[in-house]
């Protein structure tokens, strides 16, 4: 399988504080890959480096074979990478519908995703269409953020800590919904502290530690081998 996205020895720093020390990973088309690891190991920074929000100081980010490291984020979005950040903030002053509409106009990518299809995937949003997004609950905001990103018709979805701060019931529903996206053939890179959440969805997993890849392999291996999981993640 040729990789849709490939990171080659990516180093990233915020000013003087270095966070990533040579991350290499691959994501094939249609795969769901998860990044695991404790807080502060560089999961979010890896995603920000892919998205161009924090420029890698060294290394290559290959999207369909083209090096996109150093591109502006809006170009990367238009190239087909969608990012759902961990703070999951929506555009609070706009209505739910306006949030989706803005994204569609912004990315200028034609594709299967329309407002109607987002409502189909997240029926709760349809009833809230005219509501100001700032007044939605945490779970609703998360759905809207994912929906907004889907409106850009991405080929790869970067999901950063989607379950963080959500009630268990809401997390279960979210899991189903993200699972459905995966079944529809969307490629997903998932960063999660919630190991259960990730391993139920992912095909493969990378375990990060101190800005490097400590382990990589099939998700099933981590799922089934409690000892390995314990050693890598100390949970």
């Amino acid at each position: 399988m040729s990789a849709l996205l490939e990171l080659q020895d990516v180093h990233t720093a915020y000013g003087l504080s270095r966070v990533l020390f040579g991350i290499s990973l691959q994501i094939g088309a249609g795969e769901c890959v998860c990044l695991l690891g404790r807080n502060g190991v560089g999961k979010t920074t890896t995603m920000r480096s892919i998205m161009g929000l924090t420029r890698p100081s060294a290394g290559r980010v290959l999207w369909k074979g083209r090096d996109i490291a150093g591109w502006m984020p809006h170009r990367i979005a238009r190239a087909g990478i969608g990012f759902v950040p961990e703070d999951r903030r929506v555009f609070a002053e706009l209505t739910v519908w306006e949030n989706l509409d803005v994204a569609e106009r912004a990315a200028q990518r034609r594709g299967p995703w329309t407002v109607a299809r987002v409502y189909e995937t997240f029926p709760a949003l349809r009833d809230l269409a005219g509501r100001q997004a700032g007044f939605l609950s945490g779970g609703e905001q998360q759905m809207l953020t994912i929906g907004r990103t889907l409106m850009c018709n991405p080929e790869l979805l970067l999901l950063d800590e989607p379950s963080e701060g959500l009630a268990p019931l809401v997390v279960d529903r979210l899991l189903e919904q993200v699972g459905a996206l995966k079944d529809q053939g969307l490629t997903i890179l998932l960063a999660e502290q919630g190991v259960d959440f990730s391993l139920r969805l992912a095909d493969r997993a990378y375990v990060l530690e101190k800005g490097t890849v400590r382990h990589s392999g099939p998700a099933a291996e981590l799922r089934d081998d409690a000892a390995l999981r314990h050693r890598l993640l100390a949970l």
Partner: protein, 318 residues
């Protein structure tokens, strides 16, 4: 609600009766307010809608004023041409300066807008052959408004009243255009950028391009206001582009409330009226203005309109 009522038309229809009050002074004040309201509303396209703090908005006001004055006085160009030309020239300068400004963020952006404005001011101040230098360009001619006397009901009026009605009509059209801009999908993009430029960027918005276009549009409308002000003032002077003018329009916008479309216009009105009233009692106007600002910044962040809207909401809830 505000979408169904054409507020621009309502305000213009009310304001057009000012000359019938019969006082030359009221007409003078109303003209001043209408022009400054447009100036402040143009700044709010940046401040309130795009989230860009410009400390140099007077540059485009000044450029508009000089463009129209030079065309009308030096070259005898009629107002019908010099007025739009003022907007276009101001917009071109805003495009060039803005190209550099949007590369910076926050305080650096603000300082660069100020730097460009000071350059504009220095050129106006020193380029004697074209701008009249320190003396400015006095006696900018009035537009030819004789035709207005032929309209029934306007025949008895003074030239100042005719000019006021022209200003009011032009400002109303410009404000209606601004209203259309901020309510359009384009305006929503600006709102998104103000809320969070980074988030806007990763959903695919070319943030700098949008900021530059807003900067240029704001320059255009400021230029139009400047052109009117030069005629109203019977002359253009370097201090039109000076930083104190930029500060004044910022204060109007914040005083009125940058979170509401009409806020800056209300701010322009209140500041102008207060200035008139208070300077007739005391020479310490800046002292009073400073006090008002402090109260506002601590007590009423949303400005006058923000405070009124909050009060209205509370009353309705009861």
């Amino acid at each position: 609600m505000s979408r169904r009522i054409p507020w621009v038309l309502v305000v213009a229809l009310v304001a057009m009766w000012v000359p019938w009050l019969g006082s030359r002074f009221y007409t003078f004040l109303a003209t001043d307010i209408a022009i400054l309201a447009l100036f402040a509303l143009s700044l709010n396209l940046l401040l309130g809608y795009t989230g860009l703090v410009s400390f140099g908005h007077a540059a485009y006001f000044g450029i508009g004023a000089y463009t129209s004055a030079i065309l009308m006085k030096t070259h005898g160009v009629p107002f019908a041409l010099s007025f739009p030309a003022a907007g276009v020239v101001a917009a071109l300068f805003a495009l060039v300066f803005g190209f550099f400004c949007v590369r910076l963020t926050k305080i650096y952006f603000a300082m660069l807008t100020l730097a460009f404005a000071q350059i504009v001011w220095a050129i106006c101040f020193k380029w004697n052959d074209v701008t009249g230098g320190e003396q400015g360009l006095p006696n900018v001619p009035y537009p030819e408004l004789g035709w207005m006397a032929a309209i029934p009901g306007l025949g008895q009026m003074r030239a100042g009243d005719h000019f006021y009605l022209l200003v009011l009509a032009l400002v109303a059209v410009a404000v209606a255009a601004l209203r259309r801009i901020v309510a359009s999908p384009y305006g929503r993009m600006l709102t998104v950028i103000r809320e969070n430029p980074e988030r806007a960027e990763f959903i695919g918005i070319n943030v700098r391009l949008y900021q530059l276009s807003a900067f240029t549009a704001a320059g255009f409308f400021a230029g139009l206001a400047g052109a009117l002000f030069g005629i109203f003032n019977r002359g253009v002077f370097p201090d039109f582009a000076y930083w104190t003018k930029s500060a004044e329009v910022l204060i109007m916008t914040i005083l009125g409330g940058m979170g509401h479309f009409w806020g800056p216009a209300v701010g322009a009105m209140v500041l102008t009226l207060l200035n008139q009233q208070i300077t007739s009692y005391t020479e310490y106007w800046p002292l009073i203005l400073g006090t008002i600002l402090i109260v506002l910044l601590f007590g009423f962040r949303g400005g006058i309109v923000g405070a009124l809207a909050g009060l209205g909401r509370r009353l309705r809830r009861r």
